[in-house]
Point group: D2
Chain length 100, copies 4
């Protein structure tokens, strides 16, 4: 099943900056061959469910290995069986309504 | 890696009531042998990462099979490497502070 | 408008323990006269939209005052116009399906 | 207090398409004078806490007025007192790490 996911990883018990952890998770997503788009409050990911969640699991491991003792992650995941939809399709469909 | 998860499944393109879908996902969690606790805005789950997320995947499949064309799910997942912690430990640790 | 909310506050740039911050936010909710129920991954809150979100705002201020330089909070908020529903109603409606 | 927010509105008890509701909420944000950026899984918003959450409240009202009997919304909100940060700053800080 294809999943469209928003991933926001919050390292705890470490400094205030999260950018190095976000960049490390991006690297994990790239190595998994996933399509992803960074935004200001997370990373949107498109891919097969199992591939996506194996990468999110690996991301937690990496953030722990980088020194964060605790990680709290927020995931929004959408699946649908009525039609195929990509991350870009979702943005395009709002643009169409907006310009009606 | 052990994960403490809050799962909130939102079926879309169907009626307003979500209780039958929540009950079906509980059944999936029970069959996976996971420890879970229902609350008013989701279900808390405790277990090995892969077991938990395989069950969440299966829950999406079941909700689609029950007729929901689209499912949007919100997951909060915490992992930590500094100590073992259960769902109950998290509640107990707030209680201790509260009663200081 | 009445809102049913799940609130999960994650202090950043501080230690791994969040219990004292959660207890302080509970105190804010109590002072606002809101009905709330702690669970393992957050606090469920029931009340008028504006009262709830004013309390969440105050909770951020308090957590900063306690020393957390950064706070990331996850909120799930539900409203409905078809019927009145309490936090307990949501749990009861799953129980009814479960026991059918 | 300035807040950086991700907003994902999920109308329930209505059709599968959410684009018209997302576009209506964008209109609310624009009328509130807020800076916002649509992405595939929500809308990022930057502004004063009270202005942002008054707009989110108004968005719920509008989505109900458009016919959705139930709305479930997911919000990630970050505040910090150590430095000023914009939505773009967050993206830029990951880019800098990525290109090191």
């Amino acid at each position: 099943m294809k999943a469209l996911v928003n991933l926001q990883v919050v390292p705890m018990g470490t400094g205030v900056s999260v950018s190095k952890y976000v960049a490390a998770c991006e690297q994990v997503l790239a190595e998994a061959g996933l399509h992803y788009v960074l935004h200001a409050n997370g990373t949107n990911i498109e891919g097969e469910w199992d591939t996506v969640f194996a990468a999110v699991h690996r991301c937690h491991e990496v953030v722990h290995e980088m020194g964060a003792p605790r990680v709290q992650t927020f995931i929004s995941v959408g699946t649908r069986v009525d039609k195929e939809q990509s991350l870009q399709d979702k943005i395009d469909s709002v643009s169409r309504v907006r310009n009606d």
